[in-house]
Point group: C2
Chain length 272, copies 2
């Protein structure tokens, strides 16, 4: 991916287009900061400009809306990444309704969400994390047509959009969650399990078989405070066909997807 | 439902609000005409005004956009139902982007689609057919939490939104389609099968068990030209726990949902 991003960047620059990323952060949640650092490093490595607009956690709706509007309305061709969820007193929906779809590289706008929902994201921006899962499977040549895929987790940022991207690739998709009653059996019968539950050891050895491909989206702290995914990696690795690690798996690819979306946004915005 | 609709209508009229339905039809497809007749009959029975704007199948994009804009921009509190799909030369997306979300009683707008996708439709309008499926299951007291639901069909108008409504009710949801490889087994293991494939005899006796609940969304013509659903009704009825007939099942409830949405739209538009 890094090579193809460098090529795309060169093409844009030849056209006089200078892409960039505007990160908007409210407060300083550790997971937001970790993602931000990873993104800044990746963008630095790629030579794409990235800057951070950080606001205090107690910023008022009025002030935040005004600040966001300035970033959104600027004539630049920079994509915008807003960390979510926002603090509870802020209305994320109104920001999603406001963001220009062409700057909306992580799918906050209803226009991009509807495209993911109804068309598997064609022509819009899917959220970066589900897009990274698809990229990993494509990279390893996993053909999804007719495969039974289980997505564990139904969040609006990962589980639901991922289910739609999988459907668009002709997978048969099952969405499981905390209310699912026979998770082990459902996962064990699947060809591919994507763990996006946000809870360590959600995917146990009883959930997998030798044919299983496991993609782990989870970013959690284990009982010793160490970074871990949703799958019990050590116990599962000897059983399955493939499993993505945490750290170094989906998260690492997500920042590359973010960069790809930033380049595409610059192109769209320059055309508009 | 009829009683509760009559009560709501009376309340709206006391507030001086007169709800209504604007049906927009391009061409004269038999299934559109059948739906239209059913809706007009139902609205007549409820005493709610409904009118039809019918346009020739070869209307130009420019003319259709202008006509649609007039209906959409009128100051009335009437909901709009546009029959889809539109003829191929017309751009349905641009109409969906244009329709006022509060008039959009069948979920064409990306704002309503995103609400269905991300929040199970809360505060917006879900498409009427999937909403009718949920109404039927609720009417018969079927608790969906933790149940395994299989949706056969992934259309943007039925299968996908229905999957999201089911998720919002805590069902574990599997979406199957033409590329699914083991449909019979997947359906047979489910608690509830919703058939929305648009093909007669998609659901065979091999797809069901005595515990199965089957909801049939299909509207097809069988080999003798008779109206039939997606399930092989006669063969399945003796096996399953419950099955909805075609005609007289989902379609009949859909026009009641349409009326409920028209009343809600009138209320929203009067408030705005």
């Amino acid at each position: 991916m890094k090579e193809s991003l460098a090529k795309e960047l060169a093409v844009l620059r030849q056209m006089g287009i200078e892409p960039g990323l505007d990160i908007v952060r409210v407060g300083a949640r550790p997971d937001d900061l970790a993602y931000e650092q990873g993104a800044l490093r990746r963008f630095d490595g790629l030579g794409i400009a990235a800057r951070v607009f950080a606001f205090p956690e107690d910023i008022s709706q009025e002030d935040f809306t005004a600040e966001f509007r300035k970033i959104n309305d600027s004539g630049s061709v920079r994509g915008i990444l807003l960390f979510r969820p926002l603090p509870k007193h802020l209305d994320g929906d109104s920001i999603g309704d406001m963001i220009r779809p062409a700057k909306d590289i992580d799918c906050m706008s209803p226009f991009n969400a509807a495209k993911v929902f109804l068309e598997g994201g064609k022509g819009g921006f899917a959220p970066c994390t589900p897009a990274a899962v698809m990229e990993i499977l494509a990279h390893y040549g996993v053909d999804l047509a007719g495969k039974n895929v289980v997505v564990v987790g139904r969040s609006p940022v990962v589980g639901r959009p991922l289910a739609m991207l999988m459907l668009a690739r002709n997978a048969t998709v099952t969405v499981c969650h905390t209310k699912t009653q026979n998770l082990e059996e459902i996962c064990k019968n699947a060809d591919i399990v994507v763990a996006a539950a946000g809870r360590p050891k959600t995917i146990t050895p009883a959930c997998v078989s030798p044919k299983s491909i496991v993609v782990d989206v989870g970013i959690n702290a284990d009982e010793n405070g160490k970074l871990c995914g949703d799958a019990d990696y050590g116990a599962i690795l000897p059983i399955v066909s493939m499993i993505s690690p945490v750290p170094g798996g989906v998260g690492a690819v997500t920042t590359s997807i973010l960069a790809a979306h930033v380049l595409r946004a610059a192109n769209k915005l320059a055309e508009a």
